[in-house]
Amino acid sequence: MAAVAGAWWKRWVFLYLPLGAFVIVTLFPFYYMAVTSLRPDREMYIPWNRPNFAPFWTLKPTLEHFALLFRETLFARWLLNTLIISVLSTGIALFCGLLAAYALARLRFPLGGTLGTSIFVTYLVPQTLLFIPLGEVIRSFRLSDSLWALILTYPTFLIPFCTWLMMGYFRTIPKELEECAQIDGATRVQAMVRIVFPVAMPGILSAAIFAFTHAWNEFIYALVFLSSATNKTIPVGVVSELVRGDTFFWGPLMAGALLGSVPVAFIYSFFVENYVSAMTGAVKG
């Protein structure tokens, strides 16, 4: 802790002020999103160089943009779709990832190392590399424009991450724990499900939170695979229905952006530590 020692002003100049500025820049877009969502339209469209431009607050907050969002768009439906897709794809990813991670971390079998490496490589495949042929695959399975298109494809980028994270976690659990259970007459499967998985619960929670936020965030698959307005997720719905050509309906757009961010930020706020450990764990491997 000795790097910025000495005079009090040094701590302010080199630590508090720059960090404060960084946090303000980091959070300002969210504040601005919130202010804009409450600002009435006639106050919104004042050019920035007019004297009465008051950007940081509004004197007449209104909920009209939120009302419009629910009255004239299918926002409630998009919210539900996003939730269903995120929960189910996270569930599938956890199921596949947990089992795979257990096998890769605990069992000795031929090609285990190769499989582990290929799962890691899959983790690095960006969605934008495969979205066009994947769209064709979705079409040949007759899943186009159905929520299942996303429920089944999101796990492809969530499974590698869950596997990778859980492998690291399982390795920290002593093998003796299972061996004791097996000596007491439990089968291998029972030892895995009843002993190892409960002990690994914090890791599973981290993986679940991380996977859920990723699924909630996804954009390009949702944009390409879904077409009818009732099937859209929040990011795609907001962008496609509240932007008409060059006209942006900023009030409802920001209201939708705010409402689409709140659920995931809310969940995150309860599990910050899990999220951070998942994020740093995923990098360290």
């Binding site: 000795a2 790097a3 630590l15 960090l19 960084f22 946090v23 980091t26 877009p29 601005y32 804009t36 919104m44 050019p47 920035w48 431009f53 950007p55 199921f95 596949c96 089992l99 795979a100 890769l104 069992l107 000795r108 079998f109 031929p110 090609l111 285990g112 190769t114 490589v121 899959t122 690095l124 960006p126 934008t128 590399l129 495969l130 979205f131 066009i132 042929p133 994947l134 064709e136 796990p155 492809t156 291998r188 965030n217 954009f219 390409v224 990011p235 795609v236 907001v238 962008v239 942006f248 952006a257 995931v264 930020a265 995150y268 910050v272 999220y275 951070v276 740093t280 990098v283 491997g285």
Partner: protein
């Protein structure tokens, strides 16, 4: 074929060979218990293999095939060889997109590393507020990118930009800046938003790395008379290198393959000057429906991504070897 259950393996010296060859050898020489364990592993791995095989490996193969045909939406194409790639090579928008992607990746990654490192070092020196700062700092990383990018688009609006207002009030500009209007400015605006979104990831991961460095190392360096700048370059930077490297490689892959920021902020415009590989592939393959050409445009990312992944695997392997040599 050896009869199942014969036990020979443990006495033989293990021969060098490819993992596949040694795997097959072990398969032939397995005992009944070993075989049971393998079957169990196979069952456990099956769901993941089926999912990844169906929705990653198969689309990948199909994508390669698609890029070699002239398929358009609604019509099965014919094999045309490398014609799509040749066409892209001669396409000035595609060339521009390739240049943009390289500049975007290099500039954004270096800026994220620099700012992220500075923030991580500051956080590491902070006594209180660390948790709350860390938690709030990660918001840009949690919130759906498209939604926060919409807020940025509004902040960079040509007529109503609050950023212009702030800079004007501070006396930094005399006339409005058209953030997304000109080709060069627009690309740098996109880089700015990428840095805003990606820096927390760098800062928090590097902070996690910093916290594993023992304070005693710094004390030793201080006693030797090193100042803060020297301590950073001789102690922190080399010790943090493994974490930095992995974070950078992750970030390079994601930035290189980015889609959302450009799609929302500029849509590839003005006049197709800010496309990246992914947005151009979308425009060709999805918006105009030329699936073959679109698949080729996004597969054009593959060689670079492949090299980054290879480098990353090599680096991790090397690191593991180093740890084994040093530790235990």
């Amino acid at each position: 074929m050896a009869a199942s259950g014969t036990r020979v393996s443990s006495l033989r010296p293990s021969r060098p060979g490819s993992p596949l060859a040694s795997g097959l050898r072990r398969l032939r020489q397995a005992t009944a218990t070993e075989r049971r364990e393998w079957r169990f592993a196979l069952v456990l791995l099956m769901p993941a293999i089926v999912m990844i095989g169906t929705f990653v490996a198969y689309p990948f193969v199909r994508g390669i095939w698609l890029s070699l045909t002239d398929t358009v939406v609604g019509r099965e194409g014919e094999f045309v060889g490398f014609q799509n790639f040749a066409k892209l090579w001669d396409d000035s928008i595609f060339r521009r997109a390739a240049q943009n992607t390289v500049l975007y990746t290099a500039a954004a990654t270096l800026l994220k590393l620099t700012v992220g490192m500075v923030v991580a070092l500051m956080l590491n020196n902070l006594l209180g507020f660390k948790r709350i700062l860390r938690a709030s700092m990660l918001l840009p990383w949690i919130v759906p990118t498209v939604l926060s990018t919409l807020a940025w688009k509004w902040m960079l609006d040509p007529t109503f930009s609050i950023l212009n207002w702030v800079l004007f009030q501070l006396g930094l500009i005399r006339f409005r800046v058209d953030w997304l209007g000109g080709p060069v400015m627009a690309l740098w605006s996109v880089i700015l938003v990428n840095v805003w979104r990606g820096t927390p990831f760098f800062a928090i991961t590097l902070l996690a790395g910093l916290q594993t460095i023992s304070p005693e190392v710094y004390e030793a360096a201080s006693i030797d008379g090193a100042n803060a700048w020297q301590r950073f370059w001789t102690v922190t930077w080399p010790l943090l290198m493994p974490v930095t490297m992995v974070v950078m490689l992750f970030s390079v892959i994601q930035t290189f393959a980015d889609f959302q920021l450009v799609y929302i902020l500029t849509g590839g415009g003005p006049a197709n000057s800010t496309h990246l590989f992914a947005t151009y592939a979308y425009q060709v393959g999805v918006a105009t429906g030329k699936l073959g050409e679109g698949a080729a445009a996004s597969l054009a990312m593959f060689p670079v991504l492949f090299m980054v992944v290879l480098f990353q695997l090599w680096y991790i392997r090397r690191g593991e070897g180093g740890v084994k040599k040093r530790g235990a």
